[in-house]
Subunit: 240 residues, 2 copies
DNA sequence: GATCTTTGTCGCAATTCTGTCGCAACCGCC
DNA sequence: GGCGGTTGCGACAGAATTGCGACAAAGATC
């Protein structure tokens, strides 16, 4: 479920927007002013920010400027003025889209969807670029092709869940390196994720199962975390 | 419905033309001067521009020159002078046609129709050229010929909708590569499209049905999107 | 202007994923 | 060998994702 941050000082409008966004399946954080907005943004890392132009304590443009220093989170600005200069200033400072009051909830939702999709696209493009530079990762009978998002074992495709795939990807990129659970949670699950270490354990468990005999390649580093065996023998031995 | 842009500072004439064009089923954008014309053109990308020679703030020829830097939109110029030199200058600068005031609405419409038809033809030829560079894409019993805009399965022609065709085309150009829904929406549907992920799902569903047994070649990449099954495992990633 | 095609959306079912819990097994240490 | 802490692992439930039929709106065709 995606999390959005709404920054709007008019309480009644805010309530309306929040209700609408929640009905559409989003988690909504709310900040009545810029200071609170920056705090929430840093703490929760929402997928998108809806930012009112006029705010108490800190001007919307100033908030936008500071948000941009924190992260490339997409920003949808709301304004009462439809002057072109405003639009230009907002967009130049890095707002991704722009909505003039009054607007319909339908339109707001459409813009939110579009912005989120674009953000997703950009992320995928970046990943694709990385993946393209990367040749498929091979370790004995195992092959992970990031671009195809495909893992094969002895030539047979392996059906991995997204989390399992990301974990294996990380392991294969740095065989022999030990990863703490905290690091894995940060990297694979995302830095804003809040969950227990047992999530890691279980994903490792499931991955080991799917890897069959190769599951042994994921070694437990006692008291620390896990590690992918550095030098896999060219063929898996007879042990089971 | 095609969108036209009318650039004309004489209000009464403009009103007349607008009414006439709308009655003929076009969407009409209106700019009273060159600055606004360029803005609208960039923002809305009309299919054709009707441009008056004499304009406030920016001369019609200057507008034409700048339009040409933006896009190859066909331009119909209106002028009060019938001198041949003017005609030459206008056409040299890239106006596609030319109409001398006063003119009948009947004549204007005829020219608009002709220009649009020609533009469509040109665009189609460009696409043909692009398609020609590509040889037919073949995957087992399936053959997609972009030039002929034809798909055959076991030699039988397959009836695909435009969206389905584009989607299949994209898949076959990069077999084995996983595409996110966001990427597909951007590429097949267009970046300005605002719609949900389920549109992709449904087009995939319809395509799978029409492909029959080969429908299985469209693999679901869970949590990511879709991928066309790579036939030859020797090539790991799709290249394009 | 009537009809057909295309295509986006909705709703529900089916599937898959994933965090948590409980308990057993295990490790290192004293 | 006992002990505290850590890990393995099966089970479960809630959440997220996808499949798919139905419907309606928009556009194309005639």
């Amino acid at each position: 479920m995606k999390t959005l941050l709404l920054v709007e000082d008019a309480q009644d409008l805010a309530q309306l927007i929040i209700r609408e966004l929640k009905a559409d399946g989003y988690e909504v954080l709310y900040a009545p002013d810029g200071v609170e907005a920056l705090r929430l943004h840093e703490e929760q890392r929402p997928a998108l920010v809806i930012l009112d132009w006029m705010l108490p304590r800190m001007d919307g443009l100033e908030v936008l400027r500071r948000l941009r220093q924190q992260a490339p989170t997409p920003v949808l600005m709301l304004t009462a003025r439809s002057e072109e200069t405003d639009r230009v200033v907002g967009l130049e400072l890095g707002a991704d889209d722009y909505l003039t009051k009054p607007f319909s909830m339908r339109e707001l939702l459409a813009r939110v969807h579009a912005l989120l999709r674009r953000a997703e696209l950009i992320q995928q493009m970046l990943q694709q670029d990385l993946a393209r530079a990367e040749r498929p990762l091979i370790d004995g009978p195992l092959c992970l092709d990031a671009q195809a998002h495909l893992v094969t074992l002895d030539g047979q495709p392996l059906d991995l869940s997204p989390t399992e795939f990301e974990l294996l990807h990380l392991f294969l990129r740095s065989p022999g390196r030990a990863f703490s659970r905290a690091y894995l949670l940060d990297t694979v699950w995302g830095e804003s994720y809040v969950g227990g270490d047992r999530s890691v354990d279980n994903t490792v468990l499931r991955l080991r199962k799917k890897l069959g005999a190769l599951g042994e390649a994921i070694e437990t580093v006692w008291g620390v975390g896990y590690r992918w065996r550095a030098h896999s023998p060219s063929r898996a031995g007879g042990e089971q």
